[in-house]
Symmetry: C2
Subunit: 342 residues, 2 copies
């Protein structure tokens, strides 16, 4: 993308978003709802979202918190192997996907899947396949922190082979191994965050320790970031932007035993635009990465929204309603100039 | 070491210790001076210790802070390539070693060495070799955080080959690559910390982020820890205990942008005893690792001190004069029962 004074993005989508609940939801939701047309909403509340009633009620709380902004929360259900076809049919129209967490792997994932026995998972995953419900997966083993995702790739491949018509989204991928898996199975897709395109473990722990850049999966090696950048900047048709924006209160990030998660939603489009320009990628690819690919993969038609960014220095605030964003107090090259709905 | 009610250690030595200065020195020095006979004192103050006068004055401040405890601070000089033989001769009796920091690699190392040109270093290192002054080295490049030490091994090997009579101590080693280098050159030695024998990166960043376990070099992979454990538990004659105990005020550890360093001095002997017992290593090897090997390598004869540990649960305090130790508030198996001087 040549240096430009203005960049116009149509209907940006965030295909992996944590909106939380209660006061935190109220505090952060419009950081997403203002600039994005819609987002895939993660179901790892306490307790997780596992019933039709819980999905509907959570969506209502989100819509209430949003107020006047135009935004579609694409709801998800917290995957459990015990779901049967009748249940999934009953909830089909209320959700866009299901999210699978290995048990205990990240924030509020205690009720997730232990072991990945294909036969145990077959009834639920076959039903999802028939109902064209994608499976979003947090793909990490409980191994050594730098190996967890690469170790999980064989599970992705086993699931992809066993359920060839099930769309499997490898969420927030961070490694060259996951990138390589994309082209091995037609039904494997991926989301990539902005922070994993920008940082490596060096930024988290190479100088001083930076709690606001600490997340799961943890940022990996330079060659991993290069592999992610390559498919994102090229808008590989199987990758989509998903922020994994994950707000925590300031005290939970800046204390002994800091929680995992980077809060990027309100600055994601500005950072993405800067990144694509800096790497000389086309505006067309940026548009595909932040919206077009997701529309094709999920078969969704987002609300019409036009976001105009201008090349004008933007000092990222120290916090948004008490939540510290990525690169707080730093200056970046692009600002949001205007958002038009409809 | 079979399970035992009592372990007696003679003249424990800590061959890598940060005592800091001023109020911090006063607050923490006796956490070392009470249980150790002596320690190699790091010179990375602000400004670093680079003159005879500074060495003497720092030693006096340490002795004053110690009060009645019996303890030898083995002083070091902050290495600079510009030192000549006349200067090193003049300071020979005041120091035990020199410490080389690559520029900017850790806390207060801004004045260190940039580039490792053997010919540039030859005058100073040849003089040290002739004066039998060991060179202690913080061996990290400025590369990716998980690779910095392994990348530095070729520099260790180049220096060891170029100055075959210079004793080179690879400080606080954390990788299997450094362990392997030990047996390649007769003049390469190493210190190992207690925390690198106990933790990997998983403990720092695998669950919640743990600032009190964040240090430089950062804790590495499980196979690296295994390699360190193997030579420490066997009391390989070229390895010595060096805590790298590095106190920072609580607020500097528990804030955004946390400083690197683990504070272990007051709990090191208890943790080492527990570790050797748990791994069924002999008391003889523990004695060699915490004193005997260092006496041979450095040619020092420590003050006589007998430390008796008993197998009795010890709850590590939440802090020592405001400095949070490793494993604060956790219970370990051994306590200090008695310390006898003389």
């Amino acid at each position: 993308m040549p240096s430009t004074n203005q960049v116009i993005l149509n209907a940006p989508l965030d295909m992996h978003l944590h909106l939380r609940d209660g006061e935190m939801l109220d505090n952060i939701v419009n950081g997403s709802a203002h600039t994005f047309s819609g987002a895939i909403i993660m179901p790892n509340l306490v307790p997780p979202v596992t019933t039709k009633e819980a999905v509907i009620a959570y969506k209502e709380r989100i819509m209430h918190a949003i107020g006047d902004e135009k935004f579609t929360p694409y709801m998800t259900l917290f995957f459990k192997p015990s779901y049967d076809k009748a249940f999934l049919e009953s909830v089909r129209d209320d959700i866009t996907a299901l999210k699978l967490y290995p048990a205990g792997i990240t924030t509020n994932s205690e009720g997730g899947v232990s072991g990945f026995d294909v036969e145990e998972l077959r009834p639920a995953l076959s039903a999802m396949s028939e109902l064209n419900l994608p499976l979003c997966v947090h793909g990490e083993t409980n191994g050594f922190v730098m190996d967890r995702e690469a170790e999980f790739v064989s599970i992705y491949e086993e699931l992809a082979a066993a359920f060839p018509d099930l769309k499997i989204i490898m969420e927030h991928i961070t490694t060259k191994e996951s990138v390589a898996a994309l082209d091995k199975f037609k039904n494997l897709y991926a989301t990539i965050t902005i922070h994993h395109l920008l940082i490596t473990l060096d930024d988290v722990a190479g100088g001083m320790l930076q709690p606001h850049l600490f997340c799961k999966p943890i940022a990996k090696r330079p060659e991993d970031r290069e592999a992610l950048l390559k498919v994102a900047l090229a808008a590989h048709p199987k990758v989509m932007f998903g922020s994994d924006s994950a707000p925590h209160p300031k005290h939970a990030k800046e204390s002994c035993g800091c929680a995992a998660g980077v809060f990027t939603a309100p600055v994601a489009l500005q950072l993405l635009t800067e990144l694509f320009e800096k790497n000389d990628a086309s505006l067309e690819n940026l548009q595909a990465f932040v919206s077009g690919n997701a529309q094709h993969i999920y078969g969704v038609t987002p609300l019409s929204k036009t976001v105009t960014l201008e090349k004008k220095p933007f000092k990222i605030p120290s916090d948004y309603n008490g939540v510290v964003p990525m690169y707080a107090n730093e200056e970046i090259a692009y600002s949001i100039q205007e958002v038009k709905n409809g």
